[in-house]
Symmetry: C2
Subunit: 439 residues, 2 copies
């Protein structure tokens, strides 16, 4: 057929981009979905890869396999390096894509707020390479500590700090505590459990700020029970790979810092020449269009949207709901109808703290402890893409639960993807090289 269908380009195959593509499956358009990864990542479980509970492949699913039956879709593995908004053209690492409509769903990356030394020495947790790097590093610290004669260095090797009391920080700290105390110590009889520290540092006076107070308190209490030192009012000012500096003047010797203190849109947003709000997010009209380019929509972490003066959080439900509106508005535009405005329906929020413990807020209903944990498990299993992945995750969770073990405690290949443009801030390897020689 002569392809005269309008082209809808979508940048990013995260929760938003994928949903937008699916919402356009029956529209009279050609969808071109561009991502620099060949998989859709189930980010909510990323911290479990970082803490050796799940294998990377269990939370990643090939985009092509997900959208195999969608006839009007073309997938392109490429890095988008620029957008020519006036011409309607994407510049990518493998060539250009001319579009009639565009949905920007490029998501967010770790935000170090300009703290260069922290960016170099700490670990973000936004993609699989981050997670594998953290897993490798934590496992390696145990191996090196076991061979370390100097007790101070050994303690620093066994001190794992997490910055940020949001869901990622809380979940990472809880999972780290269990990985280190329950699984690793079984295999390191030569180490003293008293040398082990997991510290969660939060600048404000609360964890999981969006949650009701009872659940926030339960979260801190549960973390303490798991031997996580929860420190409030603790602002991290620097980290050199060996010492962590707090604003109070305190210095904590530590070889591991997981930076879960912030996110911002990926750099591509800055090159668009459009109005950006806090964290680099692109300011959109109520219809999710760019005010100056009505054929361009921005959704998810990339888009700035306020409710009662507060920006929407960077979470999957926002991206999915916005994807439906953006895709719907393109279909409406093709049919000559006016666009709809986006309204956010908050489905609630949930976070797990470890075995038998999660906090869940669904509208008026609050759950915690074992029941919260079961709800958390069920929701995450259901949302995972692919039967094989669900089955594997279930087995790994059962393994973990019944044997107090972690399924994937192997130090694996890691590093950059060779075909990325190298604009990532933290490659996770070379600067740390000295740390792995036992100095």
């Amino acid at each position: 057929m002569a392809d005269s269908r309008p082209v809808v380009a979508i940048v990013g195959a995260g929760f938003g981009g994928l949903r937008a593509a699916q919402a356009l499956s029956r529209a009279p358009v050609k969808v071109v979905l561009v991502d620099r990864r060949n998989y859709h990542l189930f980010q909510p479980l990323l911290y479990q890869v970082a803490t050796a509970g799940l294998a990377p492949g269990e939370i990643a699913y090939p985009v092509r396999a997900i959208l195999r039956n969608q006839r009007n879709l073309e997938f392109r593995l490429a890095e988008v390096t620029g957008v020519e908004l006036t011409e309607g053209r994407l510049i990518t690492s493998t060539g250009t894509v001319d579009y009639d409509y565009l949905i920007l769903a490029f998501g967010a990356e770790t935000n170090y707020y300009g703290l260069e030394s922290i960016a170099v020495h700490s670990f973000g947790l936004k993609d699989l390479d981050d997670a594998v790097a953290i897993r490798n590093h934590v496992l390696r610290m145990f191996e090196l500590a076991a061979q370390e004669g100097n007790p101070e260095i050994r303690q620093a090797m066994l001190t794992f700090a997490v910055v940020g009391g949001g869901p990622t920080g809380v979940e990472s700290a809880g999972a780290l505590a269990e990985l280190t105390r329950l699984a690793q110590l079984k295999d390191f009889a030569e180490l003293n459990p008293k040398d082990l520290r997991v510290i969660l540092l939060e600048a404000s006076d609360r964890l999981l700020a969006g949650m009701p107070e009872t659940l926030r308190e339960a979260t801190a209490e549960t973390l303490w029970r798991k031997h996580v030192e929860v420190r409030f009012g603790a602002t991290v000012t620097d980290f050199n790979g060996r010492e962590l500096f707090l604003k109070s003047g305190e210095v904590i010797p530590a070889r591991t810092l997981i930076w879960a203190a912030g996110a911002r849109t990926v750099r591509l947003a800055n090159s668009l020449g459009v109005v950006q709000s806090s964290l680099g997010r692109v300011v959109v009209a109520p219809t999710l269009q760019l005010p100056a380019y009505p054929k361009v929509y921005t959704i998810g972490d990339a888009a700035y949207w306020e409710i009662d003066g507060e920006p929407l959080p960077m979470v999957a439900p926002v991206a999915v709901q916005q994807a439906n509106i953006a895709a719907g508005n393109i279909i409406r535009a093709l049919g000559g109808k006016p666009p709809e405005e986006f309204e956010y329906r908050n489905p609630g929020s949930l976070a797990t703290i470890g075995r038998n413990a999660a906090v869940v807020q669904l509208g008026r209903f609050h759950f915690r402890g074992f029941l919260g944990w079961l709800i958390w498990l069920t929701i995450h299993l259901m949302r995972l893409v692919g039967f094989r992945n669900r089955l594997m995750v279930l087995i790994d969770w059962a393994w973990d639960y019944f044997f107090y073990d972690r399924a994937v405690r192997v130090i694996m290949p890691e590093g950059r993807w060779p075909w990325t443009t190298g604009n990532e801030q933290n490659s996770g390897t070379p600067e740390r090289d000295g740390l792995y020689r036992g100095q």
Copy 2:
């Protein structure tokens, strides 16, 4: 207790090193096992990781977890950089280890026979990083081919060459044919199946040289049925990442070359200053001792041993049987008894060619086709370490078998381990960078 037990150091936690450690579990010695990986790798299934059938973690198991209950064992994650044979000391990346007895089980690496350009541009298949690099590269070639306008470049991107008609080459070629034809093409409707080539290049006139003739013929026939071009008398002289050069003058445009044409001992062997035979293997006495250093044993791929003028193959059964003898001889030496001599009992050999097809030779018995395949499956599942890994592999195989799909078709983080000394020949990334821009 004052530790006056003699120290047995073991270099390498492959089939030989691991077995030797276990055989010493009740001996009155302290065992120090050193490996630069924290896992034992089940190498016979490595090609399945390279062809997206299995996840890396499914064939790797932490050494510490395997040997958790062995009280007299200490594991060290370190790279052995030298051996001072006269002093009885290992030099490692994390310090030195003084030993009374030593078992060298450091194994083999890919042998490029000095062909520098091939070493840089092709893929070996000896460890997990190789396997992940191959998987990523093959998947990436499909993605780039789908975006490639030039039909000649597209064909080169879809041409996958394997060099070497031994078990690794045969199994890789068969698995590649199934990955590309059965799984990948389902997701690449835009590609023409006729552009796809899998070529197996063998310099001699036979595949699986150690097998009986009927099985050798069946192997070639089965590969042909799977659309693998089997080329005999084809000697590869060069590969520049874009073209493959044969001795005959033929030039095959191809972007992928898997080099399964040879192995040699790791470089450490060359630094020992002892007698080496072909492929760098260390020549041992019939008791597996080094003639000049009777407290030092060498086993497995690292050791040279002849039967009827032929060196023993670099396979797991040899390593395991030698490990038992070496460990036993150390125990005998401690008890003042004379050492035993090694005698090889050949348990047979087997290779799989793909779904429903394997060739198996067990003593006088030969099997092929579906029955051979079932025997192959059973033996490999039984030998895998760890219940979780067995279960996961079984699920992935079933997935593959019933859905004609591959479980792990995601392009993942790859690269060097940050703490290796960098003496690997092929990092698998930087030189190929140009290939991934679609030139």
